[in-house]
Symmetry: C2
Subunit: 452 residues, 2 copies
């Protein structure tokens, strides 16, 4: 079994006595999550000492292994000069990500300490929105003029074999004098060609490329459709800007799914890990909870309108939370299916009628079944079939409402550009609570003579 | 804008008149999600006709583009003989996935129609659990004996350039006579070496490999730690079995996050899309809902024990659903953070005390804030400070309970091997509802003289 506590004590001692070799050897044995856990458990001064102890290259490798928010925290804690020397050794896309997460003045302080050329390139990448081709691409690629020969390419590959090895290059690009992408050479094409052959004769002409503005959905679809490991990224004039790798797109898509999962559970305004300061954790969670408590008070105010009915049939108070919770469950199922279908592209945001039709039928069946179940519970408990009719009927109708609304909400929110993972839940439960409370208490008021 | 309706009509007509060229050209213009959507909107006979119309190669490409459950449905609908001819053209990992999803007799019917060697290899891959190195690896790789030369490798690559191109091979493997993995050759090493050089002199010795039993967490960690595009998969005796690619691991991890998202929203027992039969959709959702309604009845029965208190202070009925819903929200936030930290490896399932400590402090702050808010609402509405004390105090205490329990549940469920995405929600809300109802009504019973 893993023993992070043990590693941690050894690591702390080694950092304290400045045992660089020992620290390097120890970090080597840890998996990425173990590293992340160890770093998160070190006190701030020791974390800084650790990064100072390592070479910039090793420190950059260490930071690249950590989840994004943790990497940013580490960089923030360092002096800008030290941070710059480490950030310079990172891969272009990771570097832009980490700097992009920092506050503007902190990022600028680090950029000012970097080599001017590197800083300019980092600023350039940081300007692209994170989950677009521009934000995910790397700028470590090799491009050759149209008139080059295969021999030229091999010579340069040989000369730069170090850099080449680091970036897992699989393709080499051919560009015009103006930088316009003309072709792609695969390593295997180079391998199988004669040295004197012009690259033009071997390259794939008018290769597939993606615009720098392509968003994550576009990128996922392109990589789903084509088997390539990497695709060149171009601007509006087809000039080569960078390379987007399949693994970066898959990782970003996985991250997006994780974020949806967090957001639908009420973790909004940024990722939370338990090493964040207490106040930040509680205030982020509260920002979400306080919106919800207001919405809850609004929907519960429907109950306040029917206090006389409730006073006459106190048993109804037992069923109100059940109807609220069950409608929420039915609605959330439909929300999840819609979000999933939108992600897979199986439904477009305009197909409201199709989704409504599909959810109405499921909502009807499930509403009838759940309504009957609840009626039976009410009947067994109180022996009054009218009470069963009231609570069962209200649950049946409200399940229909919840499934339909839950199915439609993600489509409607997407059309107006809102984040359905954040907004669907609160809107759904507020509407279904109000509607559910109203139905039970309205029905009960009609049938009051039979309930008392 | 996309116009799937238009494409669909054209596609239907082309299939009906058997216009193979037209269908191929049309499919070529569609993105993967558009293809998936179009296929899902075709009637079953037309779907079958479409697959018959295409060449096996094109049909295999089409099926590889679709989400797994949709691919399996298509294969199921076909005659085993036709299905076999298409499945044979699929990539080994995709083929095993699709066959693995089918019912056993259906999969066997197709395997029986396949070439014996291919069927044996597919059965072999299907035997590995899906989210392990064995389940995700491909068997399309090239291996050479230790005594081969770089020239041998180049000659074989040239001879098999078609197969080579299809599988995006980046490495070539060197094995002993018994099949034990001895080294890895990168394309660039081959490119930069002399033809007469023995592969042993160029290869990376004792290369990184993963055991065939490695699970998705292990694989994700290995790829996080090392920059490789693909890693060889070996058995207990270090014999080479296949190759696992980074993109396959990233895709499986993304899929897992999507599944957690669906499960936490109550879509269990398999993926749901709205093209599934109505009865299947409603019964799957009901299986989850009916467990929940029973749990809800159990927790609401706490209210039934305090009907006299409720009858005396009918205003309490307004607050019960608020306290139930808010505690659920606070608990779900903590559940999401724990699931996320477990995924990232930032916490181990045994660190219960650490999580409890972290959640108690957040729960205390948030409980006090939310409790005060609700007290103020109660005070403004009824003008009775004791009512505020009862509902505010109960919400404060119950928020503490919900945050602590929510934080601990995923760790405890992981330790006993249960799926926390499915089980956390129902357990959490049942406990917090019971506890919340009890606290409000118990406090109210104590303070009854001041509330009426």
């Amino acid at each position: 079994m893993e023993k992070p506590e043990l590693n941690l004590k050894m690591l702390e001692e080694m950092i304290q006595i400045g045992d660089r070799r020992g620290v390097e050897a120890l970090l080597e044995t840890l998996t990425a999550p173990q590293t992340a856990r160890s770093i998160s458990r070190l006190d701030e001064p020791l974390r800084i000492a650790l990064l100072r102890l390592l070479s910039s290259d090793d420190a950059a490798d260490l930071i690249e292994e950590l989840p994004g928010f943790q990497a940013a925290t580490l960089i923030e804690e360092m002096e800008p000069r030290n941070a710059a020397s480490i950030v310079e050794k990172m891969e272009s896309a990771d570097r832009a990500d980490v700097l992009g997460v920092l506050k503007e003045d902190e990022a600028n302080a680090i950029l000012d300490e970097m080599a001017p050329e590197q800083a300019a390139s980092a600023r350039h990448l940081m300007a692209y929105p994170p989950d677009t081709a521009g934000g995910l691409m790397i700028t470590e690629y090799m491009a050759f003029g149209e008139k080059s020969t295969v021999g030229d390419v091999v010579a340069k590959l040989r000369a730069q074999s170090e850099r080449f090895a680091d970036y897992q290059v699989q393709y080499v690009y051919v560009v015009s004098a103006r930088g316009v992408l003309k072709g792609v050479l695969r390593l295997r094409d180079i391998l199988l060609a004669k040295g004197a052959a012009p690259v033009e004769s071997v390259m794939i002409r008018s290769p597939l490329s993606v615009p720098v503005t392509a968003d994550l959905d576009d990128l996922r679809h392109v990589f789903q459709q084509y088997g390539f490991v990497a695709i060149p990224v171009v601007d509006g004039e087809k000039k080569l800007l960078g390379v987007i790798r399949r693994a970066a797109v898959e990782a970003a898509a996985g991250e997006e799914a994780q974020q949806s999962f967090l957001k639908i559970s009420g973790i909004v305004g940024g990722e939370e890990v338990r090493t964040l300061p207490l106040f930040q954790r509680s205030s982020r969670r509260l920002s979400w909870l306080s919106v919800n408590i207001i919405l809850n008070v609004i929907s519960a105010s429907v109950i306040a309108l029917y206090q006389e009915t409730l006073a006459a049939v106190i048993a109804l108070a037992v069923f109100l939370p059940i109807i609220s919770d069950m409608s929420g469950c039915s609605g959330n199922q439909a929300v999840a299916v819609s979000i999933r279908e939108l992600t897979l592209g199986l439904v477009t945001p305009r197909e409201l009628f199709r989704v409504l039709r599909k959810e109405l039928s499921v909502g009807l069946i499930n509403g009838v079944v759940l309504g009957l179940l609840l009626s039976v519970v009410a009947l067994l408990w109180r022996g009054n079939p009218y009470l069963g009719l009231v609570v069962g009927g209200a649950l049946a109708l409200n399940t229909l409402v919840a499934a339909s609304l839950g199915g439609l909400l993600p489509l409607m929110l997407k059309r107006v550009g809102m984040d359905s993972a954040i907004a669907s839940g609160p809107i759904l439960t507020t509407v279904t609570d109000m509607c559910g409370f109203f139905l039970v208490l309205r029905f009960a008021t009609y049938l009051l003579p039979y309930l008392t």
